[in-house]
Amino acid sequence: MRQRSIATSLFLISGIWLIVALAGTAFLLSGLYSQALDTGLSETLDFHLETLVGRTLEAGDPRSDAIDLGDPRFDRPASGWYWAIRDPDGTVLNLSPSLVGMKVPVISAPFDDTSKRTAATKDDFATEIRVNEREVSVNGEKLRILVTGNLDEIFQLVDDFRSQALIVLGAVGVMLAIMSFVVARIALRPINQLRTAVERVREGESESVTGTFPREIAPLADEVNQLLNSNAQIIERARSQVGNLAHGLKTPLAVLRNEANAAPKDGLSRIVLSESDKMTQLVSTYLDRARLAARTAIVGKKADAAILVSRLARVMQKLHPDRNVEFRRPDASLPWFRGDEGDLEEMAGNLLDNACKWATKNVRVSLVADRREASPMLVVRVEDDGNGLTDEEASKVLRRGVRLDEKTPGSGLGLDIVKELVDVYGGSLQLGRSELGGLRAELRLPAARPGRN
């Protein structure tokens, strides 16, 4: 099952959290700001109250024109900034020029211990105002002195502040979002690297997951490698068991065949003979297939062709003492074979054995590098002085699509396994006429840089 991507989840989670956090911050800040402004206003109003009380005491009469706060806002009509002095019955004794012609704002909150009360209300023009009122005694006369301040101005300031804060925090939010996207990408990069490394293993370019991974991913890479390792071991065990089974069957098959061969030719011996031949065929076919099926194991292998082929030439000379097997030693710059040394021995060995069988006297094997193309090829050339093959015979022998599983006995050249292996390695096999007079078989195989023996 495919879940939503980690990057998207990370991005969404951090995005939602950012929006909530930033919006909360904006409202908290503007709330604090408005509280601070309100407190400031209240303190200003208290200060004006004290001043009014002082002026009234100075003037001695609450109705005196000399009572003034000296703040021009109290002179502008409908400014929201007002003051008034009343007696306890509510009769207005004096008021600010700004309040002339308007109703004195009324609040109903009770006076506290310090004979003060405060509340927010609206004036005649629906302007939000804060009202601070105090009860005082001046010259034995009870007075209620009231001062108001404009709250709308504060609201306006808070609104401005909030919209500016939202813009700034929004910008911060966008930057954080970009950052979390980038961080998610960076954090996930090792996972992509790991995927690429595993892919390389699957494609057969590498034997194990390689590369340096951060501490969180490294154990996963190690686990993958161990899994690959144990898989390879299981395959190898299964393969060797198949091999043991197949090889183990060969002895009893030999016994059956020999026994039937030696027995009088009746129905039983004929059946045993033909069936044991079939079993022999099956055993060798499936052995070959098991070998080919395990080609994943060739990753990263290379072999020194010069050493292998010279040893093969020596062996051929021993097996065919009446032939003259010549090995043309290549120069030191000859590339190695990119693959399993057993496979190279199998290919070159079959070609050499054929050459020795068909040669009149001389067999020659040489190794050269073909560097004409981008990826250099290793060429194994086997020649003999036998009768060779006609072009028609050669193309018949090399016919593509004839695979081991369709193998019919009797081709007599043992080229099936060579062709199959050449295909596995992406090489080629060409047959032609040798200057020795017989067949020239040319194997072109992938080359590798020479290594150490």
Binding site: H247, T251, A254, A262, S276, T280, L312, L319, E345, G349
Partner: protein, 219 residues
């Protein structure tokens, strides 16, 4: 010609022994590596058929041990593993040829014959000494083109002397190479067979070298 067969499968061992005996060889058998190694180390064989997969001591180790000890008899490896890498390993261990299982008995016989012939230094399948001609493939003997009939013991004797023509062969050597381990060795029997053989061949083909043994003089 005396051959050692080292093969742990009793049936296959018996079959090879029978086929070789029928072909005129004296045959000893061993069923494991240690026994095989001991026999090859102590008895003079003209060739050995050696299985690779043996109990106690595997065939390649047996072979390497023999070669280290200077034993030079030709060895034909029997192997179920027929990849070239396996063959190369076998040949490098000192084998002279190999036969992959399952095999045709005729092929085994042909390879063995070729090994024995080559070991004695003969290039062709026919060995001649004067008017006498031996075809090692068929075991047929002709004298000036006329086929003569020999018993298997006589053929063994003649074949050994022909393979080593020009050399003086002692009675002991003949006994060792013509009879298997279990044969009641009595050097008189050799003289009896030599006497019978001489009657069927022209005079002077088999010469007696007094005090040393017998010899067929080469051309």
């Amino acid at each position: 010609m005396r051959i050692l067969v080292v093969e742990d499968d009793t049936n296959l061992n018996r079959q090879i022994k029978d086929a070789l005996t029928d072909a005129g060889y004296a045959v000893d058998v061993a069923f494991d590596g240690e026994e095989g190694h001991y026999l090859g180390d102590t008895e003079p064989y003209d060739a050995v058929v050696l299985d690779i997969g043996l109990p106690q001591m595997d065939g390649l180790s047996v072979l390497e041990q023999w070669r280290r000890d200077g034993k030079t008899m030709p060895v034909l490896l029997l192997t179920a593993r027929d990849r070239w890498s396996d063959k190369v390993q076998g040949i490098d261990a000192g084998a002279d040829d190999y036969v992959a299982k399952p095999f045709h008995m005729e092929e085994l016989l042909a390879r063995l014959r070729a090994l024995v012939r080559r070991a004695a230094g003969h290039a062709s399948n026919e060995i001649t000494a004067g008017p006498v001609r031996l075809d090692v493939r068929s075991g047929k003997v002709t004298v000036e083109g006329q086929a003569i009939k020999l018993t298997s013991h006589e053929l063994r004797l003649l074949s050994y002397l022909m393979h080593h023509k020009g050399k003086v062969i002692s009675r002991t050597e003949l006994t060792e190479h013509l009879y298997d381990q279990d044969f009641d060795r009595d050097s008189n029997t050799i003289e009896v067979f030599v006497g019978r053989l001489r009657k069927k061949l022209p005079d002077e083909v088999i010469q007696t070298v007094r005090g040393l043994g017998y010899q067929i003089v080469g051309d």
